[in-house]
Symmetry: C2
Subunit: 494 residues, 2 copies
């Protein structure tokens, strides 16, 4: 449908070009569609009070661009982009299928006054804001400020990398020839390692249940993820042994300290046995040690990286759980050939990680503030762990069981049948208490009675209050559950 | 070699299991290797003072696990993992093939006193350090400091995202329903878009020559990259038309403003024609506008995103060229369904981009300091562009030609035959002048005479001095080249 062109003889743009641009716009925007007839030059010139040559010049430009076409004896027609294809691009047809895995809502916290056990992250109120500010001020006033604003190298901000490597050597984590690359948190470390070490169709062994971000990194790439059951004592070694034989996995990913979501720690003999099993078949092990420094009870255990004698263990760590998760700084420690290849991959992925945060975290560590903060975090974590274990004892229904972590941020609860953690959540949210049901963490069949309690972000009184609410709901559910089961066989009332 | 088992009858573990565990450990650790003979039950029982049945039970367990095997009449032998696999892990066998593409050394700059035309990045001496420091100080002392230290959302730091979206709407870049996601620079934007929009075997059209980081994002993923020739007037549209028809590409990636490495800008009519060509076949266009704000001459042109009426254009931008490349903050503007899916992908890739830098850059923009800095950058760029064009005129050998950019950081030089840019570089490095030869940027056949001059990082006097050195070497080479060609047909002296 032709709309009336708005022409203005006082403009610098000549009238024929104004007319041409009007038609062009109409055609490209789809308001005039392919096949539509446009008025003969004589007719349009008459309508618009223009010289016929002006209209003809405009039509000529349009024809040169392929936007209109003249047919002898029939007049001119729109011949631009076909209506069907020049319409809006249908993005839905262009995008690969979304992940099959269910994604937890980023923040199911219920607003002010709510008690959230949903997120495995440090509490805002424990952030040492004054020390962070002092650290930043030192970094930006220092001589390296200009350097850190300039483009860097994929391996990471060199002073931080040197610091972390010196620490890893001091702690006998680094083997001769090992190296470090800085990543944007452990999540990126996992993503880069997935891309480097696996291809679609490979099989990877992980703990079941597992942090969804670890599982999904592999699933998204078409890698088969097979779960090794994990209990209070960490990975089940008999299952691991059997699955290594049966599945011929490409690698094993394991969190020996305070695993997310179970909080379980693998005891020393099992760590050694695990390394024997993987060394026997020569597969690499990714050791996710993101929670390793948050031990509240018992003696620290040597990491897999420290125990390994074959060079097969890749350790990933981060500042996110001990310091500031909003600053995305983690790292990978491993054989130098591996780190070199990760650096090449990182170059094409995002050039390098942000240098301001790397410099701030280095200064935070070197000034002794990180150690002081870690001591406070461990102290607070110990208190909160004690509180959550006591509250579970006090409030959860008989027949529940839960892990008894020695550190970290999470514990894993299993309610007695027929209680269902997803049902519990629906009712808990009405009372402003939230947590993540076990299904988010499942690799194989989810346990409907299981859920994760992330306790590190809450003060002890809120932990107790939250669990009291959960306990009360469970008690009600349990009573109704019994009633339901008793009533179930009765015929429906019609 | 069999070591003496340490058995202890007082332990709870029965002796046969102790013996079994001893052998298992010896085999898995590689101390007993495949093919080694183990003692007959009778003999070992006698040695250890055990009942023969105890030894037989231990052997049975080992045999069940495939660790030993009996041969009738010959005894039992270790049959576990081959000795070779329990040694050091051979990483080289485990890593996928490296990229075929050649990677420029991260910093071929020749140390103090050198003149580097190698890097398309802003000059350190133009960084407004005091303003950066003031901005940081404001951010860290502000009320949002605790918020930005906490875990964020994959879409980006919300105040920055809102700011960028408001700007995009003000500038008529954002269509109704468009949205923005913050990425760790443009490089990550490209990486995420590659993962979302293409799979191995797809074809993508890019300019030839092109920034290697853009080409390699796709090559690394097994995507076919086909080059569309680009000259001083930007993309060659006839080639684009032909390649769209022939290659059925999945998408087109294009840098309409001050392209890297050529510095070329696509004129307005060609932008419109380009969009017609892609709209006619309904393929998405990624518009890399990283240099768009660095225009030193002429009037700004509407971007493809502004001209697009179909929603098919995805625009990526960044603070890296205009402000601080060490802070990794870029963004993608596009249809909201696309941005949603990018956010999901980013969640599993690195959770979210660093929030300290996002907050600092937002404050830098909102305080007006970014605008002031941009004006200074444009002023300095104009001066440097003038200097590099004049120096090319003055020093490059007759028969050279080069692009005449209106902005950005790069121009593209082609030396007359038989001069070779790689040879020139070898000799230039001895005189502490560096640049990147054309082969790094090639998609198809490299032009041996071409190279990139990144002029934005150097003051005018160094630009002139560097080109004088290059010109002198060329002159020498050209003379020798003529000699060589004249001598070439002569028979070898035997």
């Amino acid at each position: 449908m032709l709309t009336q062109p708005q022409l203005d003889a006082s403009l610098e743009e000549p009238l024929y070009r104004q007319l041409y641009l009007h038609f062009r716009d109409e055609i490209l925007s789809g308001r005039l569609t392919r096949g539509e007839k446009i008025p003969p030059t004589r007719e349009l010139a008459g309508q618009l009070g223009l010289n016929r040559a002006t209209v003809a010049s405009a039509y000529e430009l349009l024809e040169n661009e392929g936007l209109i076409r003249g047919h002898v004896g029939r007049g001119s027609f729109v011949d631009g982009p076909a209506a069907s294809t020049s319409g809006p691009l249908r993005w839905a047809d262009r995008l690969a299928d979304p992940l099959l895995a269910e994604v937890p809502a980023p923040s199911p916290d219920g607003g002010p006054g709510s008690i959230s056990f949903t997120s495995s992250r440090p509490a805002d109120d424990l952030f040492p804001l004054d020390e962070f500010r002092a650290t930043c001020a030192e970094v930006i006033s220092g001589p390296e400020a200009a350097h850190l604003l300039q483009l860097g190298v994929p391996q990471g901000f060199e002073p931080l990398r040197a610091h972390l490597l010196a620490e890893a050597r001091r702690d006998h984590l680094a083997r001769p020839g090992d190296d470090i690359i800085i990543t944007s948190g452990c999540q990126q470390a996992l993503d880069l390692l997935q891309r480097l070490l696996t291809t679609a169709g490979d099989t990877v062994l992980v703990e079941d249940p597992i942090y969804p971000g670890l599982r999904n990194v592999f699933l998204r790439a078409g890698v088969r993820v097979v779960g090794v059951p994990i209990g209070a004592q960490g990975l089940d070694l008999d299952s691991l042994d059997r699955l290594i034989g049966r599945e011929r996995p490409r690698l094993l990913v394991v969190t020996p300290n305070f695993q997310n979501p179970t909080g379980a720690t693998i005891p020393l003999p099992a760590r050694e046995a695990l390394l024997q099993l993987t060394a026997a078949v020569g597969i690499p092990v990714i050791e996710n040690d993101i929670y390793g420094e948050l031990r509240y009870q018992g003696e620290p255990l040597p990491t897999l990286k420290a125990l390994d004698s074959t060079g097969a263990v890749i350790q990933i760590r981060s500042f996110s759980k001990i310091a500031f998760p909003g600053l995305r700084v983690g790292w990978v420690l491993g054989a130098n050939i591996l780190i070199e290849r990760l650096a090449e991959l990182k170059l094409w992925t995002d050039l390098h990680s942000d240098q301001l945060s790397q410099a701030v975290l280095l200064r935070f560590a070197q000034s002794g503030r990180l150690d002081a903060h870690r001591r406070r975090m461990v102290e607070a974590g110990r208190e909160r762990l004690r509180a959550v274990l006591a509250a579970c004892d006090r409030h959860l229904p008989a027949g529940s069981d839960w892990t008894r972590p020695q550190g970290g941020m999470n514990l894993w609860v299993r309610l007695p049948e027929p209680l269902d953690a997803s049902d519990l959540l629906v009712r808990a949210l009405r009372q402003k208490v939230s947590f993540l049901p076990g299904r988010y963490f499942a690799v194989g069949r989810p346990d409907p009675g299981a859920f994760r309690l992330s306790f590190a972000g809450l003060p002890p009184d809120q932990i107790d209050q939250g669990l009291r609410i959960l306990g009360t709901i469970c008690e009600e559910d349990r009573v109704r559950g019994r009633d339901f089961r008793r009533d179930a066989p009765a015929p429906a009332i019609v």
